[in-house]
Symmetry: C2
Subunit: 552 residues, 2 copies
């Protein structure tokens, strides 16, 4: 690799490639785009969060010139509290994004001496050999931006998460003209959002959602409860506007939603007519047809406000016949079952439930195929890397780029840890670097091979039996009777029936060793074999069996 090589390295988290972090490296300079988390899948037992493996960065921490953040969603900012400690560098983000980052760092008490710089679209930031211009894009959170990064090997465009909405709620569409001007200058490499690459056509405008919410609120006789993502501030604006038009009051419920609304009002991203917003406990004194509640829980999150309402477990809101609950969101893949269970519970309480299947009460935040084509046409890049998506999305996006004339050999479907190297001779794949998900559990950071998670899986299947055997310190003979403890394996009746004979079995199995100096590995395997057989025969289950010899 020559000194004049630009290296592009996606570092993801779970499944979605290049989503949580992407590195650009040239000579002695490196910049990171985004630093996000993923939420653990159900099989990652007990894991709190998943962050990208940044060992490649920490080993070169002195080269890192900054973090360029595209927008304020968790999967783009959530890892900052974790990575800033290991690889400190200034953070660059839009105003709202910077606000959300500060809240996050404060929660983690890791604000310390981190520099967070607010940038505005059009502003240029020079970090080593990289000069970045931020440009405006539409997404499902205000103040999202893409990046135009001038590198010694040419212009790199990173779209961030984007869509082309010509009538967004905040009146600030993605910057077509800017993108075209980059295209005219010549784009060496385009990195583009692939999340919805499988969806034909265009993503409808937020405008149609505003109209649908207006219809729903207008025609409902009772209270209207609208659940959406806490970060979808433009949706809250739409709900507020519709509530005001139909002479209703608005209450916000759910901790993260309340926090985001407060910050958005403060920073000017949410504009509410005076007197519209009420505390939730003030709503009880209003007639039902004067009430709109906006809340979290659209993904069926077990501790969210909406799910607590569905479980009749919410302190302030008790559902009743005549309420209308709107899911202004679609289930994220993997959350479908939780969402459907929540809908069932809401309906059991008499609420009418409306999802985007019946009415356009939600559009997503990512470009569909025609928009992806527009992005490629505007920038007509020499090289193309689809990012932000599972492999199937990247492949589909690659096919779209090829159909639009990007040369087949100039399209790179990378995985996390893959490296694209670009120099004056062209582009090629470099040697892979460390990448992959890191599981955060309390203070621990584990990679996928960690034994603790495998042990939990074993425990979760059939539980555990611990066998204690006391051995004399002086003569190494087995002393007294063994003790058996089972957990997550036998119910009460089975314990009474099976544990005494199991104990007897251990005694017998050890009788060969009685009076002899104890051979611990012999004790271990003898006890394990005897109990494994016995318990499987009696229960057809295979608990973890852990014999422990202890000297007194």
């Amino acid at each position: 690799m020559s000194k004049n090589t630009l290296r592009v390295i996606p570092l993801g988290g779970l499944g979605e490639i290049g989503k949580n972090m992407l590195l650009l490296e040239y000579g002695d300079d490196m910049v990171a785009v985004d630093a996000g988390v993923m939420f653990p899948e159900e099989e990652m037992l007990g894991v709190d969060l998943v962050i990208p493996d940044i060992s490649y960065v920490t080993e070169r921490a002195s080269k890192l010139r900054g973090y360029l953040i595209t927008h304020g969603h968790e999967d783009h900012i959530g890892a900052l509290p974790y990575v800033l400690g290991q690889a400190k560098a200034p953070v660059y983000a839009s105003r709202l994004t910077a606000g959300l980052i500060k809240v996050k760092l404060r929660e983690h008490r890791s604000l310390g001496n981190v520099t967070i710089n607010e940038v505005t679209p059009g502003e240029k930031i020079k970090l080593g050999c990289f000069t970045t211009e931020f440009f405006r894009v539409c997404h499902s959170i205000p103040d999202a931006m893409g990046l135009a990064i001038d590198t010694p090997q040419g212009l790199v465009i990173h779209t961030g998460d984007f869509k082309f909405d010509h009538t967004p709620v905040d009146g600030r569409p993605s910057d077509f003209a800017k993108l075209a001007s980059y295209g005219n200058r010549g784009v060496m490499l385009l990195l583009s959002d692939s999340t919805y690459a499988e969806l034909p056509g265009y993503t409808p405008s937020e405008q149609v959602v505003g109209e649908a919410l207006d219809r729903v609120i207008g025609r409902s006789q009772g209270r209207v409860i609208i659940s959406t993502f806490a970060s979808l501030i433009s949706r809250v604006q739409q709900v507020a506007d519709a509530a005001a038009r139909h002479d209703r009051k608005l209450a916000v419920v759910g901790r993260s939603m309340v926090e985001n609304v407060q910050m958005s009002i403060k920073l000017g991203y949410l504009k509410l007519p005076h007197g519209l917003l009420r505390r939730i406990d003030e709503m009880d004194s209003l007639p039902d047809n004067k009430v709109v509640i906006v809340t979290t829980g659209a993904q069926g999150e077990p501790t969210s406000a909406l799910v607590r309402m569905a479980n009749a477990d919410h302190r302030e809101v008790t559902l009743k016949e005549g309420d209308t609950v709107v899911f202004s969101a679609t289930p994220i893949p993997g959350n479908e079952t939780l969402v459907y269970k929540t809908i069932n519970k809401l309906m059991r309480r008499g609420a009418k439930v409306l999802t985007d299947k019946a009415e356009r009460v939600h559009v997503h935040g990512h470009a569909a195929q025609e928009e992806l084509k527009a992005m490629i046409s505007l920038t007509h890049p020499k090289y193309f890397i689809p990012i932000h998506g599972e492999y199937r999305h990247l492949k589909t996006h690659a096919g779209i780029a090829e159909a639009l004339g990007v040369e087949h050999d100039n399209i790179y479907v990378l995985e996390d840890g893959d490296v694209l190297e670009v120099d004056h001779k062209g582009a090629k794949r470099g040697a892979r670097v460390a990448a992959g998900p890191i599981y955060v559990d309390g203070l621990a950071r584990w990679d996928m091979s960690n034994i603790v998670l495998r042990d939990r899986k074993t425990l979760s299947r059939d539980g555990i039996v611990v066998v204690f055997i006391v051995v004399g310190r002086q003569d190494s003979r087995v002393v007294g009777r063994p003790e058996l403890i089972s957990y997550g394996f036998l119910d009460e009746g089975e314990q009474e029936m099976l544990l005494p004979p199991a104990k007897e079995l251990v005694v017998q199995a050890l009788s060969a060793a009685r009076g002899q100096p104890a051979d611990l590995s012999f004790i271990h395997s003898t006890v394990q074999d005897a109990l494994r057989q016995y318990f499987f025969k009696a229960t057809k289950r295979r608990p973890m069996i852990l014999p422990v010899a202890m000297e007194v």
Copy 2:
């Protein structure tokens, strides 16, 4: 309740009400419709299967006159090996269904002296006061039937799982004329499949799937691998027909698929041209464009043939560039993530992947709204109970029935264990009976409140620490040093660092009791408190802590 009361009782399993079993009871007679299993959700740690709670039946086992089985899917027959032992009665089913039941009972070695009666559409079975005529319906397995049950309180129609396909693969559509004749006679109660009650319009005919499969096989240059449900014999027929038309050979891969194909050929439900079917190891000698493989794994089941291929872990099929893999199935809710992961892996191996998003390679087996309306119009029942669906489906179906003129007060949205009582004065809800899911784990049968499953959940989150303390039998004093064992909690480095001080901490905590007769509950709570605090501070995790005192 008068002696002349008909009782209708759905007994479900997981979420889908009345799906796995439904009871009709009158005087001294009872019949059960279906006896199926559900597969455990991910949170039901270690559970093998879920069966309905049939304690209501077993307490009245002498009244049970028979099991009427609508079709051969697992969620309708899978519980027979479990319930026949507790409540024996003859089984009535169509030829193919009976064949599948026999296989199942043989696997469980519970065929014993169970009577399995084959019935054909139009045949009438008298069981006590219930006379049942079976009628033909279309579904995603051949030989499905609905039930017209003459009871002392009038005619009850149970649709089973159904759709109205006018051009089904086997040429045997749902019996419209029969349904109309029941309607003319007067239907007291309709129990109808609600699975797709939220879907507007008509379910397209299987014919369009046949055409799509024909196109895909016709235009593919390489091998075509088609995955579907093992029980969807008509789909195998369509694949076979298309393979024959395009001069390809067919191999069947996957244990359950092979078994079902063999049985279906034997019983005449699958008609393959001579020489079409080949062993999979014979396929290697054929050119790729002569090969079609039909296989299991369309739901991303981890041990299925397709997933093994995706993992490059299948003995006989190695995927390569040029292969086309077709998912002739849609993901069952909850399976989406598994299916998408499988697609990603298949694409990484170079296979082209086709799902029903791109081409009509699948239609489901249930009636959509227009078909549900047709069913209600044909039978125009006095009472209506939507069954087979989550609560949200039942509610929607109830709304459809009301829109078609069934009286609001005559529509009963029941949950499992709810009872509808019908006598000469009319219908009303009766007192609920025992119902709900029973978890099968090995030989154990547990209900939802079982502590073992809750303990496994605890274990799966942060693991376990067992603390052993030895107490002298004579003087009840603490002897020697405690022993600590952790599992699923600490990684190796943490164990080395944290366990010795933890042991020391237990010693200190017990020092108050040293030399004193041991108070076991004092030891227990002291040790638990000390370790809980210590471990949380050191790891921010909360393992299960289990102190055990043992006398020597």
